[in-house]
Amino acid sequence: MNGIQLMVDALSLGSQYALVALGIGLVFGIMRMINFAHGDLMMLGAYALVVPTVADVAPPLVGKWPAGAMIVAITAFVACAGILTERFAFRPLRHREADGATLLISSFAVSYLLQSVVLLVHTGRPKSVSIFAELTRQMEIGGVRVALVDVVTIGVTALLLLAMVVFLRRVRWGVEIRAASEDFTMARILGVRADAVIALAFAIAGGLAGILSLLYVAKTGVLDFRMGVPLAVAGFVGTVVGGMGSLIGAVLGGLFLGVASSLLQALLPEALRPGRDAFLYSLVIVVLLVRPQGLFAPRETGERT
């Protein structure tokens, strides 16, 4: 496989994982809870593209709207779904001062719930859906043919990350999210409303999941009620390895995981390839032991943490 093709593949996967890790990291930063349901939010967005039905073939619903409307609708839909999970599952727990272990289990329960509901409505048979068909074409970069959808994934992710940076630095709500991630109680003492800032984090994470679902479905064309799991696993591993308390760490962790996974797949000899995932997952335990703040988290400076 050619070097440019390899890079595009690796960066495309890395982009997907970076987006998931960002969504997980946003919520983790404030609530100190890893939201296992995040991958399933992406799955919800994908299924919103088709008509809910137990039939083998699901006719497109939002999937046949014009591109602009579809993007807005799915992004908004998943953002709302995220807000609803916060409102009805996580907020009641927070108000009852649930401990970290309970929050963790509950996010697992929400994940299971979302999967079960979709399983109930759509059955377990994978369904196909086609959106943005133009993206399945190939394009040429430096004389090499690469999939357009991969290039678009990389580009969209880069834009989203840039938008996030601007939001987190220049918009007051974004600054509040960063403050809440660093010292939630102190932010509240200064008047930052806990419910509002958490709902906002979930909304943004949901929006990111919505956009990711479009990119993912554009590339694979398949719906499956379990489709969110590999992404959630990747996002989870990326966040922990990259740095749980830091958004930059999470994003870089996701990127690193996707790139490493792709490169290992292409470059490892046949016999070692199955060990690739096992090796990458075991990095979590290694990082937790050796450098728990993550590989890419910025060093803490200043007088007191």
Partner: protein, 337 residues
Amino acid sequence: MKVGSSLPTLPAAGLIPLLALLCVIVHLIGNLLVEGALTEALVYMVMVVGLSVFVGNSGIISFGHVSFALIGAYASAWQTCCPGLRGVFMPGLPEIILDTNVPVIPAALIAALLAAVVAAVSGVAIARLDAVAASIALLSLLFVVKTIYENWTSITAGQGSLAGLPLYVSLWTALAWAAVAIVVAQFYMISAHGLRLRATREDYAAARAVGISPWRERLIALVISAFLFAIGGILFGHYLGTLAVSIYWLDMTFLTLAMLVVGGKRSLTGAVVGTLAISAVRELLRALERGFDFGGASVQIPQGTQEVVLALALLLVLIFRPQGIVGDYELGVSLPR
């Protein structure tokens, strides 16, 4: 330093006779479906009781125990499954394993021992981490083990199913193993190790101050817990007769965790009660999904309702009764002080 309101009692003395009674009643009723349901419930009970040895005493949630069930189930299959055809399904196994048929009980013990060894090795690292990190690490262990087993097709039949395991799990076998698990869990709980681990759960700093080593106590609990959970996984495999890596993954993780949490994650009685309660609800929903006639009208709920109800049940318990059905309570005979 308060250790908990649940001591000192011997819950096994109360739980085992009650379970035995339940089995006798169900057997006498003679309905095969109900008997099968209770058998399956008892198999899960072995897992959940095993889970509670670690989670209940340490306060650390484990999402990774199913990896021990997976290891145990396949290790038992390597010793007992499909004699003659074993080499066809799993050509990568060493000659000696392909040729030897071990009787089922020693096979189970050896297989669970393998899982316990894996727990010990990974536990050396994991027991050092703080509670949240440990939970995350245990989940990662599940990912690692699942991926290895999925991809090492020469010894596990990969993503396919492995059929032909000896079906030796009857109602009474399951009851016997459940009783063994409960007794082991109880003796750990009232032992000095159990006491010390619970001390770290109640007040970590104080426990360390009096010289308790959280790392050692967690490691011991994890190994015992992994052994029992593996037995449960082995029984599950021999109850179904087939194995597939996908069985030992997120569904089983969710189910066993739900059973523990709904019953009461801090007590052994909770593990037993939770398993029975969730199993009963599942059976009821399964029956409704199959559909039946009620006074002339046909009643049936859609396939898949079962999982939705379970997920909602767990969420509601977490929000409104996080201590579970029994809380800290332990059934049984009080020990003299």
